[in-house]
């Protein structure tokens, strides 16, 4: 699709909005509909669009294997780490109330971080899956 300049230009224009929308869904998740999972998928869909238009090679340059892989692990670690942190602060696992002096703030903070972990994991997983299926010859 490299030759279709219209598609290329439109894609370039759309990309920032897709990513910003993903971030909106991500951080608004604890107030309204949304959350890490949806945000991750939206983020990944933006990336998929990019790959479709600009090709696998470019995509791999943006998101090399080590990056998606690390992000994948990091997301899980953030999620699990938040839970452990709440245990260290004296609560039960994933008991966000323990994360700050004010339980309300604690809940807020906890959900924010956990959802971030989820978002990163889901985005990385989606991107990895897509790239692996598209690449076929390489694994990650």
């Amino acid at each position: 699709m490299n030759s279709h300049s219209v598609v290329r230009v439109v894609t370039k224009l759309l990309m920032p909005f897709i990513f910003i929308y993903a971030l909106y869904v991500q951080f608004h998740g604890d107030f309204g509909p949304g959350g890490g999972f949806q945000a991750g998928v939206i983020f990944a869909s933006g990336f998929v669009l990019y790959t479709l238009v600009f090709g696998l090679e470019n995509a791999r340059r943006v998101a090399p294997a080590w990056l998606t892989r690390t992000a994948l692990g990091l997301g899980v670690l953030i999620f699990a780490g938040t839970g452990i942190a709440s245990m260290i602060y004296g609560g039960l696992y994933l008991d966000y109330s323990a994360l700050a002096h004010d339980p309300h703030h604690g809940q807020h903070l906890g959900i924010l971080i956990v959802e971030l972990g989820v978002g990163i994991t889901v985005a990385a997983a989606m991107i990895s899956l897509f790239l692996v299926f598209a690449g076929q010859d390489k694994d990650d």
């Binding site: 892989r69 994948l72 692990g73 899980v76 670690l77 699990a80 839970g83």
Partner: protein
């Protein structure tokens, strides 16, 4: 302080270790992390078992949300027993793994193996500790998905189709489970197992719940590989890497049986189960599994495939014990759960060592191995004897209980069948023994060496356990009987 968190740590430790292996893809590092995580899990599991023994069931509320709103972990004697089983076997297999993985899985993928292995462990342990029917599904999927990927890592191209078939069948099983959970949720408004148990009796007679029960039995039956839902298992175990076969054979199907026990006895309750036509069909399927599995195993040429069919038969024994719905029968089933894990892991690991040395597990290629790899083959023989049910091995203990249960219920023909199928087991084990010891030119394969110590030690650890628990029967029987009594509604 940390002590009060151990129920959740049981799951978190492998869960945290898994991403570490992805982020730092260095073989040795991953192995160390994985081993540390499984050993910690084992320590936690043992602590849990001792605590549950002394003080009764432990509960843990995630995020501080009380059940039935939040997800609660609830560990009773059966859960603790399962966590010990799973983490023990997985630790031993990990000790065994480095060389076997080195030979069977490419260097670039080794870290993925450890990641998936830890995720699988997370799922299996999670199933055992959770007290929430939906959370159980999540863990089931974690363990299932990782096992599909683990099987697909096999060298043989057929590993891919085997994994794919397992994926389809496993997904159907999990879907059936979640459909049933949904139906029960619709009728009771709760997902917590203890809560479900309280609210189900009122709606027991409704068609919704009855359909849910049918979905549950078939769905879990698929994960257990109960005859005739076993079709995916032979290929999966045959073509998976050796350590994966050992791990899955010893733990995955066992945890699936655990789910069945939980659903039947903790959710529906022994009375409801006894009132429904559940035990009889299960018993019939179990008898078919026992005889057909063993009979098919006799004619296999591939030793791993032989063990796979033997697993189908052994699962039959476990289900048979459950289907008696008596304390003795359940004790026998639960004992065999543990014992079969010990035998099959020992057997599959010995085959792993054989594969490491001769690059094949075709029975015909094993001629003369009794001389070349005496310790490995001796372990195989002991494991096989345990499978047959020779006294002084664990196999004898569980079969003893099964036979006793059959006789107590007045089903003596079933006791005969149990014995007859152990004769079949003797035949298929003998086939391997005969080739390994009595065939082959004395000079043939003189360059084949005994397996390295790093393999022999774990193999013989498990083999020794087969003998140890066959002689010192007190602990396992007490635990199994306590679990059986608890499931049947006795004093906890």
């Amino acid at each position: 302080m940390i002590f009060s968190h151990i129920p959740v740590l049981q799951v978190i430790v492998p869960l945290v270790a898994a991403p570490l292996c992805v982020i730092f893809p260095f073989r040795k590092f991953c192995w160390t992390v994985a081993l540390a995580a499984t050993l910690t899990s084992l320590w936690i599991a043992l602590t849990l078992l001792i605590t549950v023994y002394a003080h009764g069931p432990i509960t843990y509320e995630l995020g501080g949300w009380a059940a039935p709103w939040g997800i609660g972990y609830r560990i009773d004697i059966l859960s603790a027993y399962m966590t010990v089983l799973v983490s023990l076997i997985s630790s031993v297999i990990l000790v065994f793994s480095p060389r076997s993985i080195g030979a069977e899985i490419s260097n670039a993928r080794a870290h993925l193996f450890y990641t998936l292995y830890l995720l699988n462990l997370t799922g299996l342990l999670g199933i055992a500790v959770t007290g929430d029917a939906f959370n159980l599904f999540v863990f089931l999927e974690i363990s299932s998905l990782s096992s599909y990927a683990l099987i697909a890592m096999g060298q043989d191209r057929r590993a891919l189709t085997a994994a794919f078939q397992y994926l389809i069948m496993g997904t159907i099983g999990a879907t059936f489970y979640i459909i049933a959970v949904g139906l029960m949720y619709a009728m009771t408004g709760t997902l917590n197992i203890a809560d479900l148990a309280q609210r189900l009796p009122e709606v027991m007679e409704t068609r919704t719940i009855l359909v849910a029960l049918a979905f549950l039995i078939v769905g879990i039956g698929l994960k257990i590989a109960l005859f005739p839902f076993h079709g995916w298992l032979p290929n999966a175990y045959t073509y998976a890497p050796s350590v994966v076969s050992a791990f899955l054979a010893a733990t995955a199907t066992k945890v699936a049986v655990y789910i069945l026990l939980r659903i039947l006895f903790s959710v529906f309750g022994p009375d409801a189960v006894a009132a429904m036509p559940i035990a009889q069909p299960l018993m019939i399927l179990a008898l078919f599994a026992m005889t057909i599995g063993s009979a098919v195993a006799i004619f296999q040429d591939d030793a791993k495939r032989l063990l796979a069919y033997s697993s189908i038969a052994q699962i039959g024994y476990i289900i048979l014990g459950i289907s008696f719905l008596s304390v003795t029968g359940l004790t026998g089933g639960i004992l065999h759960l543990f014992n079969h894990a010990l035998m099959k892991s020992a057997l599959f690991l010995s085959l792993g060592a054989v594969f490491y040395r001769i690059g094949s597990v075709q029975i015909s290629d094993m001629a003369g191995l009794g001389r070349r790899m005496p310790w490995t083959m001796a372990a195989f023989v002991v494991g096989g004897m345990s499978l047959v049910g020779t006294p002084l091995t664990v196999g004898f203990i569980s079969k003893w209980y099964l036979i006793r249960a059959a006789l107590e219920s007045g089903w003596w023909p079933i006791a005969v069948l149990v014995l007859a199928s152990s004769l079949l087991a003797m035949i298929y084990i003998w086939r391997v023994v005969e080739i390994a010891y009595f065939r082959g030119h004395p000079e043939a394969g003189a360059d084949i060496k005994e397996a390295p110590l790093s393999m022999l030690v774990p193999i013989w650890f498990l083999t020794g356990a087969n003998i140890y628990f066959g002689i010192n029967t007190g602990d396992t029987i007490t635990a199994a009987r306590a679990a059986a009594t608890m499931l049947l509604g006795g004093p906890q």
